[in-house]
Amino acid sequence: MIAIIDYGMGNLRSIHNALDKVGGNPVIISDSKSLSDADADAVVIPGVGSFGDAMHNLTPFSDRLFDLVDSGTPLLGICIGMQVLFDRSEESDAAGFGLIKGDVIRLPDGVKIPQMGWNELTIHRDNLDSDMLAGVNDGDFFYFVHSYYCVPEDKRVIAATTDYGVDMAAVVEKDNIHAVQFHPEKSSKKGLLILKNFVEMIKC
């Protein structure tokens, strides 16, 4: 079972449908007790809202989330769900989870903000050989909607980047933690492929 954390900030139907489509067994979890009770094989933090609101609403889940991550349960953070895994964001005074060392900063001047639309990935297989990106190639497009981006301290966690005024981390992976700045559930076939790879990882 894949627990999708519902932190009360928007529709989760797309990510639920997408995980369902690729053979996952998604369940939307709306409170921390349900997450504790659930026997989750994986956790997804979906991408809706702003950093401060997301951290505020996610805080009740944090103890259980840390337990799951410590025990090796695969975690997938999407968009703002990626950003909250870092230490801090320019968007808010709220502290992030700090599961990945680094900052979240605003997109540079000179580009339309938010970045909204399909952008290409450059895969960095020299950094890490990502199972999640199996079958994904340089130049494949994914759908982004964001105003801030993640800057990991350790560049070796960057599995793929994208270029929007600045070359930025688009996919970050560290042990059982996986994070994508784009929305795989809105990225058609290639997005579903990434989610399928994530689901396969759980089954292994």
């Binding site: 339309k112 639309g117 399909w118 290409e120 058609s188 997005g191």
Partner: protein, 270 residues
């Protein structure tokens, strides 16, 4: 590099069971095109970047029908979905988002109550609020208007509402700037002079608005062939182009349009 978006628009008549996609000509005559989610799946296969569902019946009773259409579509189509037509208040937007929509587009309701833009942006994010502008050329200089030079003379652009049936006296360029300040995430800009004509987009209108705001502009109205889309994406700052009938009736596929764009030097997702 961010790709320019190609967005098929599904004008939905929800007055029949399950709804159907139709296409109006100059906002009036109607032709039948197909079942919404079946067309949506076909456009996904063809490589569409985003889809817009417009409820052209636009009455409260049919809100639930549109929700069903979006629910059904979002089971199999994984790209951004926008719902427009009949979004009158925040509750309508919420219904659309809960059914699986990513964005709503507002026109009449926002002109009557501009705070609706702020409210949608506040509760669902800027990216979730698309402002639709239906603009018509008005020739001749008028004080307080943003005048634009065109091959046919100097004009300003007037916003219309109620599906093009009534005019507001509001300047479209000024309204676009205000909408950006209020938090709109995209502007879906339809030329009423060109809509349904297949004569090509209104380049002067699209240029004027896309140069005036820093949010993406979706050019709409008048698309008759892939070269029209190439022209508007190459010669203006529009981020996306919308078309309906050239896709619905099988004249061109989204893939054919994108090949034309790529060959013309426009960056697209192939």
């Amino acid at each position: 590099m961010l790709a320019k978006r190609i967005i098929p628009c599904l004008d939905c008549d929800l007055g029949v069971a399950h709804g159907r996609v139709v296409k109006g000509v100059r906002f009036k005559q109607i032709r039948y095109a197909g079942i919404p989610w079946e067309l949506a799946e076909e456009y996904d296969r063809q490589g569409a970047d985003e889809l817009i569902f417009l409820d052209i019946t636009a009455s409260h009773e049919r809100r639930e029908t549109m929700a069903k259409v979006i629910e059904k579509t979002s089971e199999n189509v994984f790209m951004p979905l926008t719902v427009g037509g009949g979004i009158r208040e925040l509750a309508d937007a919420r219904t659309a988002f809960n059914s699986g929509a990513d964005k709503v587009s507002v026109n009449t309701a926002a002109l009557k109550n501009p705070d609706l833009i702020n409210d949608i942006a506040k509760y669902f994010g800027n990216q979730a609020c698309v402002l639709a502008i239906d603009a018509k050329r008005r020739y001749g200089r008028e004080p307080g208007r943003e005048m634009v030079d065109t091959p046919d003379g100097e004009c300003w652009f007037e916003c219309s509402f109620y599906g093009g049936r009534e005019f507001t006296g509001i300047d479209a360029i000024q309204w676009a700037i205000e909408a950006e300040e209020r938090g709109a995430g995209d502007i879906m800009l339809t030329s009423m002079d060109r809509d349904g004509t297949k004569d090509g987009f209104d380049i002067e209108l699209t240029k004027a608005i896309s140069d005036s705001v820093n949010i993406p502009v979706i050019a709409s109205g008048g698309c008759g062939n892939p070269e029209h889309i190439l022209e508007v994406l190459r010669d203006t700052n529009a981020s996306a182009a919308l078309a309906a009938s050239i896709f619905h009736f099988g004249e061109y596929t989204v893939g054919e349009v994108k090949e034309c764009l790529r060959d013309g030097g426009v960056h697209v997702r192939m």
